[in-house]
């Protein structure tokens, strides 16, 4: 039968080798033109002095990169990008694993809980961020109200959650983790259900208690899925500018800028396209690393 199938496949493909190409060409062409092209353009801009409104443009070599690397707000942006991405990922992976364990077995109301838990991820990022902005408002924050009511702070004595640099950073971290948690939870949950039921049973018979089974058997078995969740989570957080833009606009005093938000601030708001392009190019190395690991995970899955 395999021989027959191979023959049909080769006949089909031989009869229509152009069919396959015809079917994917539009998509590939579109992507080349609107992704590949602009990508090259970004590189080009980074080496020029392009500005919004100017029709002229000159090649300036590494000038943009030099001035960026010297600017303190850039260094803060790189630091923040890494902190936000890595810290939120750690919080999310731990939290999502715990949540996934809690959601594993069916119970009444599970569907409703799942719906509620998903809300941070499915709502448009900007809207969720605005919601948090209201919750963390400098005067009317409900968090402030609760802490004052609990006498932890005196009235008017509570800090400004988005106004002080370290608290602002914490708030951005909070919102990133909040948004990402449902996504990771749902992927980990899928990974857990893929584990054959008799493995944890064998562990129970072998004498392992609940935590030993989770930490030494189940979670290690989930490594490919955890990798997928982490890698996607890293991308979503690292390349996001919305949370910072909405919550703090990069402030106070540029203390919460990230690479993407700084690129936007300088490139569009500051009209300096070249600087914006140069800053955003710094995203590339990290993305390449992440892409490499994704390919490795996919390859390992093929091999097994």
């Amino acid at each position: 039968m395999a021989v027959v199938r191979n023959r049909i496949k080769s006949v089909g493909a031989a009869q229509s080798p152009w069919l396959g190409a015809a079917m994917f060409s539009p998509a590939v062409l579109y992507i080349l033109l609107l992704v590949g092209g602009p990508f090259l353009l970004a590189i080009f801009y980074a080496f020029s002095d392009a500005r919004i409104g100017n029709t002229e443009m000159h090649f300036v070599g590494l000038e943009n990169f030099r001035s960026i690397l010297q600017s303190p707000s850039f260094r803060v942006a790189i630091r923040n990008s890494l902190i936000f991405t890595i810290c939120s990922q750690i919080v999310v992976i731990v939290g999502a694993n715990i949540l996934a364990i809690s959601l594993e077995n069916t119970f009444r109301g599970r569907g409703l809980i799942r719906f509620l838990i998903l809300l941070p991820w499915v709502a448009p990022i900007a809207l969720g961020a605005i919601g948090w902005k209201w919750i963390l408002d400098s005067i009317y924050s409900v968090v402030t109200w609760v802490l004052v009511a609990a006498h932890i702070y005196k009235p008017f004595g509570a800090p400004m959650w988005l106004g002080e640099p370290s608290l602002a950073i914490a708030s951005v971290l909070l919102v990133h983790s909040w948004r990402l948690m449902p996504f990771s939870t749902v992927i980990l949950l899928a990974g857990r259900t893929a584990i054959p039921k008799d493995i944890p049973e064998a562990a129970a018979v072998d004498g392992a208690g609940f935590w030993r089974t989770q930490l030494q058997i189940v979670i290690p078995m989930m490594r490919p899925i955890i990798s997928v969740a982490v890698l996607f989570g890293l991308i979503f957080t690292f390349t996001d500018m919305t949370v910072v833009y909405i919550l703090t606009a990069g402030g106070p005093f540029d203390s919460t800028q990230t690479l993407p938000s700084l690129a936007f601030a300088m490139g569009i708001q500051g009209s300096d396209l070249a600087a914006g392009a140069a800053i955003s190019l710094f995203l590339v190395p990290v993305l390449v690393i992440i892409a490499y690991f994704m390919l490795r995970v996919a390859h390992r899955a093929e091999v097994n």
């Binding site: 008799d198 493995i199 049973e201 562990a203 129970a204 018979v205 072998d206 004498g207 030494q216 078995m221």
Partner: protein, 345 residues
């Protein structure tokens, strides 16, 4: 080593429906290889899992070594289990798989190596200790699963159809290995299977189950030659025992006892048999057909014969069954009853 007992053990999954296991009473003997045999859905796996502690009984008691273990978790029951898929931990090496129970039971680290190597040598897998499960063949995986089970020196072995995932050729040699293993180690073992050939070959005793009810518990000879009811009679033996209804009894006789009439037949009941199909299996023939004439007109019957060349399709021949090979069953209950004289015509 210990004796496993169950008293009136019942498991109901859905209220109001028939239980998966109904009022089963059993008692193993020290060191025996007991087989739970039955079709799928007969409750044999549920019964095994209750003994293991992976399912909680609805009512009844389970005793291991004289202690009631109903409230004990699996780890406290001193049992070991081999699953149908072997359930080897895919991310751990063979060595770590076997060592895992020791780690879980907090056995001192210094003793791990010695015990793992002992278990590995018992099963001849010393050379595989560094491999991962996915690099092993089916037979090797079974041995690793057994090593992992034996390393804790359990009181009871529970095996849930471990041969059913192997292909036919491998199954025979894996079965033999299991038997050898049991003879070497001597631990009381309970083995679940739906394959009656396995049950007959491996079991010291066989418990036949259907719909959660135990039909018979006895040696292979008992269940084969003296079945307790029609279910046991037809479940064991391939092709199954032929059953014909006569008055208020059902009469059964095995295909190997249904032979062409010959001068040496002795005290035997005669039948007219129309040959409709013959299958040559190499070592024997399976001949099927229908009875002709008399009360059993059209009844389908199987026969197992050493030779059948001279039986042609469509022929109606004289066949006989020796009187002493007839089994009698009550027509309403299906249970075995004493032989009685019958008018056959």
């Amino acid at each position: 080593m210990a004796v496993v007992q169950t008293r009136d053990l019942t498991k109901v999954f859905k209220e109001g429906q028939l239980g998966a296991v109904n009022h089963v009473n059993l008692e193993t003997r020290e060191g025996e290889f007991l087989v739970f045999l039955g079709p799928s859905g007969s409750g044999k796996t549920t019964l095994l899992r209750m003994i293991a502690g992976l399912e909680t009984p609805t009512s009844g008691e389970i005793l291991i070594g004289g202690r009631v273990v109903n409230d004990l978790s699996p780890r406290d029951r001193r049992i070991a289990m081999v699953f149908q898929s072997y359930a080897l931990y895919p991310h751990l090496s063979v060595y770590k798989n076997i060592a895992f129970p020791l780690k879980a039971q907090k056995v001192k680290k210094e003793l791990h190596k010695e015990k793992v190597e002992w278990a590995a040598s018992l099963l001849g897998i010393g050379a595989l200790l560094d491999r991962k499960p996915r690099e092993l063949s089916g037979g090797e995986r079974q041995r690793v699963a057994l090593a992992r089970a034996i390393v804790r020196e359990p009181a009871v072995f529970l095996l849930d159809e471990p041969l059913s995932n192997l292909d036919a050729k491998l199954r025979a040699s894996a079965r033999e290995e299991l038997e050898r293993f049991h003879r070497r180690v001597g631990t009381t073992s309970i083995y679940v299977t739906h394959d009656q050939v396995e049950a007959m070959a491996m079991g010291d005793r066989v418990m036949v189950l259907n719909k959660g009810v135990m039909h018979q518990l006895g040696t292979p000879t008992d269940v084969y030659d003296n079945p307790a009811d029609t279910f046991v009679a037809t479940f064991l033996g391939s092709p199954p025992m032929n059953l014909v209804e006569l008055g208020d009894v059902i009469v059964g006789f095995r295909p190997e006892h249904f032979k062409p009439a010959s001068p040496s037949s002795g005290d035997a009941v005669p039948f007219l048999f129309k040959v409709e199909n013959r299958e040559y299996l190499g070592s024997e023939w399976i001949v099927s057909g229908t009875l002709a004439g008399g009360k059993f007109e059209g009844k389908k019957i199987f026969s197992r014969l050493a030779t059948a060349q001279d039986l042609r399709l469509g022929d109606t021949c004289d066949f006989v069954v020796p009187q002493r090979e007839l089994k009698f069953f009550d027509r309403t209950t299906g249970k075995r009853v004493e032989p009685r004289a019958l008018s056959w015509q």
